[in-house]
Amino acid sequence: MSRSVFDGLKFRKVDSPIHNLDPRVKFIYVLGVFVAAIMYNEIIPLLLLFLMQIPFVLLAGVQKQWFRSLRGALFLALFIFLTNILFRYIGAGYTFLPADIEFSVAVTIRFIVLVASFSVFFLTTSPDHLGLALEQSGVPYEFSFAFTTAVRFVPVLAEEATTIMDAQKARGLELEKGSFMKRIRNYVPVLIPLIVSAIRRSLELAEAMESRAWGATKKRTNLYELKLHKGDFAMLIITFVIIALEVYVRLFVPIPPLSGGLLF
């Protein structure tokens, strides 16, 4: 379950109109989707937002990995749905109100929209480009480097987690066995080696970098520079239209609740 979420963040170098977009532009787009998702509590606009991701996914040709990351997020989505519905149920005086169910569905879709859009972003943006984008937006190199390294090491850690799980299973650990609390405790033998080896790895990385004169010059130059192309401007325009539309609809168009008779 947890591994497939990471798979959805793994970048593969492919040539597609989405992969070739400037990372900054893509990030603004994702941010636009993010803001929109937060602005709405209703099912219809959130569903539309979700459907909006599909053309990008198809254009980038990453549907398989994208779908996998969605499937990985399913468990958390279910958790969000259940807690929402539970607390709404208690809050409403132990009754199910159609509006509450609708709300719970909506926040769950919101979460899926966020996962979906971030997944497209990470699947189509190489960590190198991401670091470059941060650097050229004025973020100090130390921070942008830390960020790209973190992103780059996610798949490595995920792989390591699998090995650790295998090693502990070979010693009779059964992760899915026992009560809810027991199951959480089952992960201790997996998490400790994972954290210890991540710390070890980062210390080794720091030494390796320093022995290659990391940070020796104050002003770094880059081999590649990011430049906006025609496609990037088109994407920017699309993004701004979407954001403008979102704000307009939010402010001036009343969204009818589904529970008015459509669904319930």
Binding site: D166, A167, A170, E174, P189, V196, R200
Partner: protein
């Protein structure tokens, strides 16, 4: 006994790691699985305790099909020591580390105590009983990992790269240890790149390449077969290299044992003097 019947395995990423492997490992055998990186060695041994299930074909451990049994219950028969001890050490003391598996398998407190003492003694770790495994050196951590598996006395032992990061003395201890296990009738399977170590142990060697077995037989024969080894980018053991170089002297070529080599050379030298 481990019986592997024409298994195929494909990882989620699409890589076909095993392409039709058939082999039988009898009780009490000592087997070294060799081959270059990515040949499928670790993938194959992960089938022995059910960590991986074949996409096609079947694996039987003591006549039980691995798909019909849990990893935990298979592990009781097949102890698997991973390459990197840091992938499994997590307890506060060495003692607790060894107790972990024993508790998982549901042994009673008395047995657990007894087995810990036994395993610590076996791997000369008794002095570290109350030490944190994280404070130990690399070689010692490796021994703790080994002890934590040996503790439940599995019938079959799989060691993934047991000699990596070990000095010569530790390797020799490990070798003697494996011999000792064998006299107790245990089956030992090692996955390794260490040609010299295999040459010293002279086990049955299974050579893999690109998910297939390319050679299976006596170590002495396979580790001196220049053609087969070259294809798997394995260098001959040093003794075999000497004998390959001395081809013109018409000595036997399938020699990997140092004592055998000594005797052959002595004889040849005597012959020349005459």
């Amino acid at each position: 006994m481990i019986e592997v019947e024409d298994i195929y395995f494909k990882y989620q990423s699409g890589t076909e790691a095993l392409k039709g492997i058939t082999l039988k490992i009898k009780d009490g055998e000592f087997v070294a699985i060799m081959g270059q990186n990515g040949a499928g060695k670790t993938t194959l041994v992960k089938h022995f305790n059910g960590l991986l299930k074949p996409s096609a074909g079947r694996v039987l451990v003591d006549n039980i099909q691995t798909t019909k049994s849990s990893i935990a219950s298979l592990s009781k028969t097949v102890g698997f020591v991973f390459q990197n001890p840091d992938h499994q050490l997590f307890s506060e003391t060495v003692e607790e580390e060894i107790a972990f598996a024993l508790k998982n398998f549901g042994f009673n407190q008395e047995t657990i105590e007894k087995q810990i003492t036994w395993a610590l003694n076996l791997l000369s770790l008794t002095q570290y009983r109350k030490t944190s495994p994280f404070m130990l050196s690399g070689g010692e951590r490796k021994r703790v990992a080994l002890a934590s598996v040996l503790a439940w006395d599995p019938k079959i032992l799989v060691l993934d790269e047991p000699t990596i990061g070990q000095d010569h003395e530790q390797k020799e201890i490990l070798r003697q240890f494996i011999v000792q296990l064998q006299t107790q009738g245990k089956t030992v399977v090692i996955v390794t790149h260490d040609v010299e170590f295999v040459a010293e142990c002279n086990p049955r060697v299974i050579l893999m390449r690109e998910g297939k077995i390319v050679a299976d037989g006596e170590g002495k024969e396979i580790l001196t077969n220049t053609n087969v080894l070259a294809e798997s980018s394995i260098v001959l053991p040093q003794i075999a290299q000497i004998f390959a170089q001395l081809e013109s002297m018409r000595l036997p070529k399938n020699v990997i044992d140092i004592y055998e080599a000594k005797e052959i050379l002595q004889r040849a030298y005597g012959r020349q003097k005459e």
